[in-house]
């Protein structure tokens, strides 16, 4: 859905101010990093600014766009690698760790979670993130074109797969 040329969204700032916290939270759950999440939020709102999404549908559209965009970044691996290197180099100033050991543990845990998320089927990953970002079953169903009844199944499968992934990797690490 694209804004017809010349039709500037007059509600861009209003929607940004209303929905930025949720968009940031959705992206942060995927990426595990506030800085990277902010980058994704900026991309999402730029796309929204160019779109003709009705204002009433904006919250759902933005949440789904944030999840997809963040997962795309996650799967590209580039941001994750850059961020982890920055943390390893002690450059991640916004996310200071009290000591090196804690920083390493946190980094490993985050990496495992991100890797597990990246391996989930896309619909499961999005449903999982949206649900844990506070969207209702009806909202998730509408956003992903699912029946409300199947949202629970999708989220349940995602959580089960995530737990197994984390358990397996914790065991093998």
């Amino acid at each position: 859905m694209t804004t017809p040329p010349g039709a500037v969204r007059s509600d861009l700032e209003q929607v940004f101010r209303r929905d930025y916290p949720r968009v940031l939270a959705v992206a942060a759950r995927v990426l595990g990093s506030r800085d990277d999440a902010d980058d994704v939020a900026q991309e999402v709102f730029l796309a929204f600014g160019r779109s003709a999404v009705p204002a009433g549908e904006a919250p759902g559209w933005l949440a789904v766009a944030a999840a997809h965009t963040a997962l795309n970044h996650l799967r590209s691996g580039r941001r994750r690698a850059a961020r982890e290197k920055a943390v390893a180099d002690g450059v991640g100033r916004r996310d200071p760790a009290p000591d090196v050991a804690e920083a390493v543990v946190t980094r490993d845990e985050r990496r495992r979670v991100r890797a597990a998320l990246a391996r989930l089927p896309r619909k499961q990953a999005v449903a999982l993130v949206l649900r844990h970002s506070g969207l209702s079953y009806a909202d998730v169903a509408a956003a992903l074109d699912l029946s409300p009844g199947s949202v629970g199944t999708t989220v349940r499968r995602a959580e089960s797969a995530l737990r197994k992934e984390l358990s397996n990797h914790a065991f093998t690490d």
Partner: protein, 366 residues
């Protein structure tokens, strides 16, 4: 009287029972309450949900005002392509993700070429920057600008490869531009500067009537019929090299930065350029008041438009050693900059300084 069914609810129903019990049918709730199998399933679902919630937790305390300012600034920085040297890393990264406005504004530079002569045959210069003039825009204007790649093929044929160098001599060797010497630093600016250089950027745009028609149809509009000869016309945009001398003092916005850049030029391979300009200005994606401003200085093909977002900055003019300069000021008056063109070189001075201070530096750079 309702009685629990023997059918076990699905895992999805058990999962919803944790979050939205009111959304689960009474018959299923009653069944679960009395079914050891389902209660075990419910406990497992709860455990996995808690694990997922913990794994996905990430503390975010949003600062919406700051985020909106960043969004505005990143959009503007992308559109002007000028702030890379003085913005923090996250914003620099966004320059790559918000490249469409850059493309659009480069396209406007072509529009502003405005040379009345029609090109024929080989590339020839249709635009050279002799002065910089501010164009009032809003952040919404920049977001709404059409992406030039919707109307043809855009190829960046030479990237700038911006990188730091050791000193002024290395900067001159890399770019052929002598970094400006600053005789006397403003009060509060101390220490030695760092040097950053970038090579020449060249891009070629080939107009495609078919692509333009497709983009218009997708957006539910019909474009004006392209004038004869425009389809397949090529335009070459050239800017740089450039060198920056920066006194950062550890801040994301430098205390002082002086930038020199070989002025942008544009060339055409054969389009009747005035016709192309008029056509591009008639595209429905260009905000009308912006198009009106651009039409105002399409005469000699020597004026580079500098988009100035009204929400963030104001502009005025001043004299720098006989050259008309554009002075920019952030709305909170903490950051000032001045930019002017001299002998085919664009020079900019900016920083956390007052207007008098940037003008004093500008008038004495060597």
């Amino acid at each position: 009287m309702r009685s629990p069914t023997d059918r076990h609810p699905t895992d999805g129903t058990l999962r919803r029972l944790l979050d939205e019990p009111a959304g689960v049918a009474d018959v299923d709730r009653d069944h679960v309450a009395g079914c050891p199998v389902c209660l075990r399933g419910l406990a497992a679902a709860r455990e996995d949900a808690v694990t997922a919630a913990t794994a996905l937790s990430c503390e975010t305390t949003p600062d919406v005002d700051l985020a909106w300012r960043r969004f505005s600034a990143a959009t503007v920085a992308s559109a002007t392509g000028s702030a890379a040297a003085r913005t923090p890393a996250p914003t620099r990264r966004r320059l790559f993700t918000l490249r469409s406005p850059v493309v659009a504004v480069l396209g406007l530079v072509v529009v502003l070429g405005g040379a009345s002569a029609a090109a024929a045959g080989d590339w020839f210069q249709i635009f050279r920057t002799e002065q910089v003039v501010p164009v009032q825009v809003s952040v919404n204007d920049l977001v709404a600008l059409p992406d030039l790649s919707n109307y043809g093929d855009l190829q960046v044929t030479s990237e700038p490869h911006v990188h730091a160098v050791a000193d002024a001599a290395a900067a001159e060797q890399a770019t052929g531009l002598r970094p400006p010497g600053v005789d006397r630093l403003p009060r509060g600016v101390t220490g030695e500067p760092s040097y950053t250089v970038g090579g020449q950027v060249t891009a070629e745009f080939t107009f495609s009537a078919e692509k333009a028609a497709r983009a218009a149809a997708t957006a539910g509009h019909s474009l004006p019929t392209p004038p004869p000869g425009l389809d397949g016309s090529r335009f070459r945009l050239v800017a740089g090299p450039g060198a920056a001398e920066i006194w950062s003092e550890g801040r994301s916005i430098p205390a002082l930065a002086v930038v020199r850049l070989a002025a942008p030029t544009a060339y055409s391979s054969g389009a009747p350029f005035a016709t192309a300009r008029d056509y591009l200005l008639s595209l429905p994606g260009l905000p009308a008041h912006l198009a009106d401003q651009l039409r105002g200085f399409t005469g000699a093909g020597t004026t580079l438009p500098l988009p100035v977002p009204a929400e963030l900055a104001t502009s005025s003019t001043a004299d720098v050693n006989g050259h008309q300069a554009t002075v920019l000021a952030s709305r909170d008056r903490t950051v000032h900059g001045v930019v002017w063109v001299e002998n085919g070189v664009v020079t900019g001075v900016a920083g956390l300084l007052g207007e008098d201070e940037v003008l004093a530096v500008a008038r004495h750079v060597g």
